[in-house]
Amino acid sequence: MSEIVQSEPFVMNIGPQHPSTHGVFRVKATVDGERVVDAEMVLGYLHRSMEKLAEERTYTQNIPFTDRTDYLSSMSNNLGYCLAVEKLAGIEVPPRGQAIRVIMAELQRLASHCMGAGAFANDTGAWQTPIMWFMREREKILDIFEMTSGARLTCNYMRIGGVAFDLPDDFEEHVRALIGPLRETIADGEGLLSGNEIFLARARNVAVIPQELAVNASLSGPMLRGSGVAWDIRKADPYCGYEQYDFDIPIGYQGDAYDRFIVRLEEMRQSLRIVEQALEALPGGPHSTEVPLALRPPAGEAYARIESPRGELGYYLVSDEGPSPYRFHIRPPSLINLSVLKEMTVGGSIADAIVALGSIDIVVGEIDR
């Protein structure tokens, strides 16, 4: 009978200026009433051609660029890039430098997941409350970053061969003061949302990604783990001595938005465990090795990846023995996680599409670079 009464699909732009796209990102959604029948994304509003610019700068000069890709987790980006250069040039990092890197990367993961989990709750309509709770804790983490590196958001702290400066004296005290309240905030956020019927109705069985699709679509990070794939580069391919620390990989049940949310919350708990252990066993010694400022790595290529808060963050560098990389490629987890956007949104309503987009936890700086 439905051919008698027909509705007309029309295109609705979600973005580039939209509260839920978390930046200048646009989804051209073709909707039939409230139902999304097609979704096409339009990127590039924030494209700054970082890969091209990096080919004209020395290896060390490129570190600040990496801050500005995923601006919510600059430490992780620094780390990934430095690991790639170290792999290319064969540089060893002293143990203290590695431990500091681990602490910083995990604090950054906490800060980023605070934002990710909070923003996701905001996208489901929990108006500002969870994100404010998490932002409060994130502020403290950013204060620690400021104390250590002098900057809150774009830290530029890692260096090739270690880190830029040693930790300040009262660093440990501040981090320890952070851990307890953060645990409580995570529990509060979980208490407010995880068992909430409305939240379950909104996030459960929405934007489901089956395991096979998750692997086939090159997803990584909480997206992959939410689908029930036990994959964490910190465990699978440990860098910076992650094998010394005791932590678990949280994995979801069926790959819906809710699973990705609880995986993020649990990852925050695991990160806290790692930070505690790393603080406990913080070795002495130098924080960095001496590396020439105009580093000329031997000709060749290197691909190094880390588990950034959003997934597998890879840096592919090609050297021609020059002072600047011949090719500098970032594997952006946000961008590649977006490749299933259509599968996640088509067939659901607009509200579901927003939840799906929020559950990816995109950072547009990283998508467009």
Binding site: V42, E51, S218, I336
Partner: protein, 174 residues
């Protein structure tokens, strides 16, 4: 701990699965013959020993005389990573076979590579520029597209009114 395959190991596996598919291999990567690359990559994904079910990274490299498309393949079950490359020699219209039908996640990275390098991926379902706008002159990550001020800026031709193409600078080719 992840096992990082050397180029030779991957070449051996690829040769075993699809004979004649390997062009040569280096210490880190295995260069596949362009016409067999698609077949070989599919075989590498499906073979239980290689089991490269996860395409970790796909990007292009401009080597002046040729374009390389670099695939970092990853197996989650066997925890191993290998690097395969496919070369395209046509400078004006480089083209390689698309792997979207093998790995769904390749489409967004192939689109990006097409956008920035101008490498056409045959068989890609929806190959279009995703970062730059349609009609953008040139492909910025090519080495003859200069980024720094001082040189000409081909990308800004439409504003400057000069369409002169610069001579490619001489750079060592690895």
């Amino acid at each position: 701990m992840t096992r990082w395959w050397t180029g030779e190991e991957l070449a051996e596996a690829a040769e075993r699965l699809v004979p004649g598919s390997v062009a040569r291999s280096t210490a880190t990567a295995c260069i596949l013959e362009a016409e067999h690359a698609h077949e070989a990559l599919r075989a590498l994904r499906d073979d239980p020993e290689t089991n490269f079910a996860h395409l970790s990274n796909l990007c292009g490299v401009d080597q002046w005389d040729r374009f390389e498309v670099v695939y970092h393949l990853q197996s989650l079950e066997r925890n191993q990573v290998a690097c395969a490359k496919v070369e395209a020699f046509d400078r004006e219209e480089p083209s390689v076979a698309s792997v979207v039908d093998i790995w769904h996640g390749a489409w967004i990275q192939e689109s990006e590579t097409y956008d920035l390098f101008g490498i056409r991926f045959e068989g890609h379902p929806n190959l279009q520029r995703i970062l730059l706008w349609d009609g953008y002159p040139g492909h910025p990550l090519r080495k003859d597209f200069l980024a720094m001020p001082g040189g000409l800026q081909p990308g800004l031709n439409e504003f400057a009114g000069t369409a002169a193409k610069p001579e490619p600078p001489v750079r060592p080719v690895t």
